[in-house]
Symmetry: C3
Subunit: 478 residues, 3 copies
């Protein structure tokens, strides 16, 4: 072996670990994207840098099924000019027809399965499920509407809604004409989009599609690994109404995850080797496998697939709704709620116990990768009890509230009034929205302890019921 060859081998060996896995040269950007980059790499260098590190920039050759076949990477033009005729707010821009709101329908050009599943996910309907529900609208007005006097308030305006409820639920993007702006390249015309910016899970896009993939795969890195980490879910599942992230972090799963340096990137995602403890995504979405590659759970962007209950109760937790569109639900009292005020479920609109069982089984498949059957059975039996018990507590509070309404201590639905806007009504709302929900999330994720008792759990629940009861003239007969 000549020294030259030997030297080359040594250098190759030395360099090898830095370039592993052996990568084919990525396909170049398309000529359209090159044109975008020509200006935008100067104007928005950060976001272009983000993209350059993404699998999209590496191209389908790296990322997907068409490995080696793609002529170009997936760049600016591929997404922002896709289906331009479908987007009401597409605008002419240097010879292209561009839209700012890349939508799940655009992404579906390559990711059809995921977009299809997501369209049947409760989350994609988050805008309509909130704004199309007359009861929820009253809760919004009472809790987010600006008050000019103790009992005088209006519905929150568009900007306030975008910053509060719709930050997570998604705004309804409306095309409000165009505006001319001075730019470094002279005067240019841009669309005015009401509700922009927004990346809520149920954003209504200018092509009529629902959702925003960047809600979980943020910005231009589109990372799957990032979406698998609980910090992503935390963006919207952190408050006292849905403290899923807080509960997770205080659970043993959360402890192990916080201590891990795993990169959460490989797919399929192997239990015990690739990830040391499940994250939100592991249980609810991801394709998981055993260390030898046997699939445990199939990837789904229709999160309902593994959910037997709708734990989030307004005011009661029930079996999961059948349709992702909740605005069609009517309880026996004609309200768009999954249960009556007495707790009776609107069964016609909810999955039955066989489907509940099937969905539980799907989720439990992953539990069993690390836990025994009796462990898993014990855990889920407790969750069932917690659902029943917190629903019972909500019923106790609701009965007191109904008596307070009957006695004129507050003006509720029967009087044609907002049932959420007076002091005792806020206390009642906290019972079901904060404390019953927190207790259930703590039960669901083995994050019991603090979040089940003293941190917006049963302590506050019982205190609120006691306080509501204290507003009655006397102890109600038992």
């Amino acid at each position: 072996m000549p020294r030259r060859v030997f030297f080359a081998i040594a250098v190759f060996l030395f360099c090898f670990p830095m370039v592993s896995p052996l990568a084919a040269a990525p396909p170049p950007p398309s000529s359209d994207t090159e044109e975008c980059l020509g200006c935008h790499e100067d104007i928005h260098p950060g976001i272009v840098a983000d993209w350059r590190k993404s699998l999209h920039a590496a191209g389908p050759a790296r990322a997907g099924k068409d490995k080696g076949k793609a002529a170009s990477s997936v760049g600016c033009a591929e997404c922002h000019t896709a289906r331009e005729e479908k987007h009401r707010a597409s605008f002419p821009h240097n010879g292209f027809s561009v839209h700012v709101d890349v939508s799940p329908a655009d992404c579906a050009e390559c990711h059809g399965v995921e977009a299809g599943q997501y369209s049947e996910n409760l989350m994609s309907h988050a805008y309509g499920n909130l704004m199309g529900n007359s009861v929820y609208r009253q809760l919004i007005n009472a809790s987010a509407g600006p008050r000019t006097a103790p009992a005088t308030f209006s519905a929150p305006g568009r900007d306030t809604m975008a910053e509060t409820c719709l930050y997570c639920h998604g705004t309804n993007l409306a095309f409000n004409g165009t505006v001319t702006r001075d730019t470094d390249l002279g005067e240019m015309e841009f669309p005015v989009l009401a509700g922009w910016p927004n990346q809520g899970v149920g954003r209504v896009n200018t092509d009529g599609s629902r959702g925003s993939c960047s809600a979980c795969h943020p910005r231009h890195g589109f990372s799957a690994a990032m979406a698998r980490k609980p910090y992503t879910c935390k963006q919207c599942h952190e408050g006292p109404d849905v403290p899923a992230f807080k509960v997770y972090q205080a659970s043993k799963h959360g402890n192990i995850m916080a201590s891990s340096k795993a990169d959460y990137a490989p797919s399929p995602w192997k239990a015990g080797t690739d990830f040391p403890a499940p994250t939100c995504a592991a249980c609810h979405i991801s394709e998981t496998a055993t260390p030898d590659g046997t699939i445990i759970t199939e990837r789904t962007h229709r999160i309902n697939d593994r959910l037997s209950y709708r734990l989030f109760g307004v005011p009661y937790a029930t079996a999961h709704p059948k349709s992702p569109d909740l605005s069609i639900i009517r309880n026996s009292q004609g309200q768009p709620l999954t249960a009556d005020l007495s707790g009776k479920p609107a069964e016609k609109y909810l999955i039955d116990s066989a489907e509940q069982e099937a969905r539980s089984k799907k989720m439990q498949a992953l539990c069993l990768a690390c836990h025994s059957g009796s462990w898993v059975a014990g855990h889920f039996a407790r969750l069932e009890k917690s659902v029943a018990e917190t629903n019972q507590a909500t019923l106790s509070a609701t009965k007191i509230m109904e008596e307070l309404w009957a006695r004129g201590k507050a003006k509720g639905l029967a009087a044609g009034e907002n049932p959420f806007d007076e002091p005792p009504e806020f206390t009642w709302t906290r019972v079901f929205l904060f404390y019953a929900n927190s207790s259930r999330f703590a039960a669901a994720m083995s994050g019991g302890g603090d979040y089940a008792v003293f941190a917006d759990g049963r302590f506050q629940l019982n205190q609120a019921i006691a306080e509501l009861g204290g507003l009655l003239p006397r102890e109600p007969s038992k």
Copy 2:
């Protein structure tokens, strides 16, 4: 040097950093464990993968004092069949007698010092200290018992207890016979364990021992490094009653720790080189050393060793109890509390000031590794003041509560009633359980600022006292 040799050296050098430190081949699993793995690696692959990365799998040859002598690693059989005759719930399983609840007494077969110390740690008695305390039981019933009407509630059931208080304190595992289940390998019999799953610090095991090592060394990795991180302690020290984790995270120690990429693994654990700032474990448990290896603090699993105070006050903070069994304590009013309702400590059961001083000195040894004597003295002087001042605030609130009881505004102990279940009693409970405790934790860990004032600290404390006072017919004479 022939090229071949040279090449070998180069490759070795290249590979060297990946296999460092030079490891002897680990001992193989025992034949019993091999038999377990034969099935369980298929059934529960995640947990087996977790174990394969542990020091137990690497064997005592790596992990302990018998380096090089062990014939086998520490695997499934070594722990789950240990002392099988002592476990009431051991069950026949493919020729083995297996128990699911590996206990500190099992671990003591190899880790006798640690298990011995832990048995004298307050935490190992957490079940009895809670459930054997008649006053605490009333607090449990008032705050976690399901309410069917404003003032009507029962004691929480076994499942609710397992999900709330006993999630951290530990359940009392009871053997409730066996159940036959269909498995992939045919019908098999398994024990039914009430209180399972649970990993609380004071779990009462089926061999009668107390505690669960996996409370802090989770699952089958048994990592010391993980237990040294605050995320472990967070599982149970996060709520408003014991916000130790929150305070730590907002402290300068927590800031430095969050920013560090240290792996927290070496032992002894060297201040300034192995860890940049102390964690919960560093101050309370770990063996720490100077960078040159001089021991600063000795490892102890009897956490009381470095605790002069019991900061957690129900209702008052006092000197630390002598015995880890708190159920034996009686204050001068005959209650199982470390102090009277007037704040007078039950001195007979508490360590004296000389022992307090000795314990403080032990903890301060580590402080002094990075701080001057005047820094440390200043810090602990403030803590003393905060203990006194928050106890005084509790006394103020308690006097108001006693007057409210006397005036019939609530029904307390004297009337043979639960003193924690009515609205003003919840407010009083928040004073000592949430706000006084939070203020003390903030003082103890230099996490002052927000947690000492506005985040469940003195602001809420003073508000609660003012509100309690507002329930009196007039200002009490001063």
Copy 3:
């Protein structure tokens, strides 16, 4: 090429990545510092180890503009004996005159630009801005003063203040003589410093200078990378009055940051390559650049430079004050507040709209590195609306409070009484201090959703207004 040379090259190549970047040998410690280390490396090994890893230990040759010229590194003596004649508490110590409180004026010997800017930063005046404000003093007394009866309280003592408000604002270090202590080296004399330890941002040092660089560059590592991470800011910006860290963590920026393994070290700090999403420092302080090195924002330790508003409202958010010394401000009612109780700003003391615009532009320069103009415009337009709307809510609450004062339901300023100490006054305080501020921070950092509504946001704001209104005999006329 002889084999020997070849071998050397191979080994060099192999080792190269471990020692990159090629470092000149650091300059040695000065002889004075060597003398300090002689004892203190034994006495306080942790802190010396911390320093040994710092850029100070590597010396100006590595860290600064005098690269290669420095004769010695920056060690103990360089800082703790600097300007010794200026420090009232300098004390003789083994032939040196030493002071414990290294101050910004000491650091200015090398870091003059930073110290100069910081002296004009609101934060350096945090002690006086709090303690020199008669209204704030009443808030302190009501919320942190120990209560011996419902309405009887004193001003908090020095130790309580050090542990609460002044933990962040900084203590006023007072030289209280000296004390003799037994040490390993015999009897030695040390100064007694009231207010020590403390690292608050506005600490008044014994040389009369204001601030503590170690508030953000902690201990003896003095790391810029650490200060750039949000964990540093969290120390003081976490509570319900200033929940900046919580909001950030729940924002998309916080999500991306939490998921990143960037080391936050290079300078200038390049958007998209060095940092994937901005931290507190990126927007408020740091020198940032495009990936090709073009400066986007200049480093400033005068944080006001990029702040158009003072979002933190007591009780109203206003344009940012002109001077960092807020004690000079008087509203039209003569109070040291940036606005009247009616919300009218004390315009004379506040920056005008042109300056607001200029500051916004500075901050937005970084936004535009990753976001389009319409995105940024939309975001800031919403923030303006939120400022106006939350100020309006504060006005609503204040009007109710004024009516309660007028009706004798509480005793306020007009009666010469503390306006923050009675139950309805605590509720009013929570409106502006917790809920209006939280809502604004959520708006400012796109951390909307939970923190804008249910997590101490508009829900609690509206509940508090409703509860305040419920204390009035009847609904005020509309």
